[in-house]
Symmetry: C2
DNA sequence: AATATCATTTTACAAATGATAAAAAATGCG
DNA sequence: CGCATTTTTTATCATTTGTAAAATGATATT
């Protein structure tokens, strides 16, 4: 899937608006392990993932928890920076070498103010992410850890090959040891 | 807080756009216990809460879980209906007699397509809800049930007077029995 | 008062998960 | 390959949370 296609997949844009947006995108290649965005900072860059996989995590004293995986076609932002120009709660780590496209958040905000199709594209982007997040919150309450793991494997069968079990356990809201037990029980 | 004020609190609208939006709102009064929106249906109405409190819940075989409370200034929608014209996962129950304003989702969508300020207002609305939901997801992983309860009581001290402990326990992701134990331990 | 209804707390027991440590397996690199 | 490092599994025990049922409390109605 090209960047153009993944943009249009969120919300159909007329060609003129699509051009406005894509012209601003700068290609960036970065290596596995790179920290794309830092928690507790106001991060001004927005990234589109063309190739690769990343995780968003929040840090605590000793551990961190992964609460989002971004893959081909996804958009990476520091949500609080993007919405309110405040320090964000998430850091973003590249879990593979990535091909990204970068744009300044400010530039994007200007497009939102001037191009109605792009404003609605931004609206739809937030709405879709919101649905996914609410569904995860509900799933965590209704389903056991085992069921959540099986659900994830069904929806994202390729994830296991790209992401360590520690990150997946964290994403599911359990410890790595628990996930290992669950995997042993399923067999 | 008036409806006008709560709309502007989400995103500042010029007077002309604000009028476009508010002219479409129909006042509705409904009684405690009324089911405003039904899960598994495509719900076409959007509601603004002027007075009262509601809960969004998802149903399972025998139980239901509350995952959102809406109060004065909040907006009530069936998220999947609103975004994709698909059946939603949430039902909405009025927990008090409510003064609401109603607008057809279709009408709102038309405003999004024609008024850029309103499109950005809709964008900001979704973004703010998204931040709140992500923070709850993270909080559920980082904090114990006791901490989450105390956090909620700090941020929403009035909630306990308006909502039963059963709903609050569900919102926190624990059983009512657990919450009762927590409350006993805190004392 | 007596009754009914609903919300909350308490109790006892079972199941799930966490913490910790250690072993085993997989991976990366000189 | 062989070694070091990281990841995953296994085992043990403590803690948390869930389930079910009973007891208590609160409120309204008769």
């Amino acid at each position: 899937m090209t960047i153009r296609e993944s943009i249009l997949h969120i919300y159909p844009l007329p060609e003129a608006s699509l051009l406005l947006l894509t012209e601003l995108l700068e290609p960036v290649q970065l290596r596995k392990g790179h920290i794309l965005l830092q928690a507790d900072k106001v991060e001004k860059e927005v990234y589109f993932i063309e190739k690769g996989i990343v995780r968003a995590y929040a840090e605590r004293e000793d551990s961190d928890i992964t609460f989002w995986f971004g893959q081909e076609g996804d958009i990476v932002i520091s949500m609080r920076s993007y919405v309110d120009q405040q320090a964000g709660y998430e850091s973003i780590e590249l879990l593979e070498d990535c091909n990204l496209y970068r744009v300044h958040s400010h530039t994007l905000q200007q497009l939102f103010e001037t191009d109605i199709a792009i404003a609605n594209w931004g609206r739809r982007f937030a709405e879709k992410e919101l649905i996914k997040t609410e569904e995860r919150l509900i799933s965590r309450q209704f389903r056991t850890a085992t069921e959540r793991y099986q659900e994830l494997m069904q929806h994202q069968p390729g994830l296991l090959q790209r992401v360590s079990l520690g990150h997946i356990a964290s994403y599911l809201g359990i410890t790595q040891v628990s996930l290992s037990r669950i995997r042993a029980d399923i067999r």
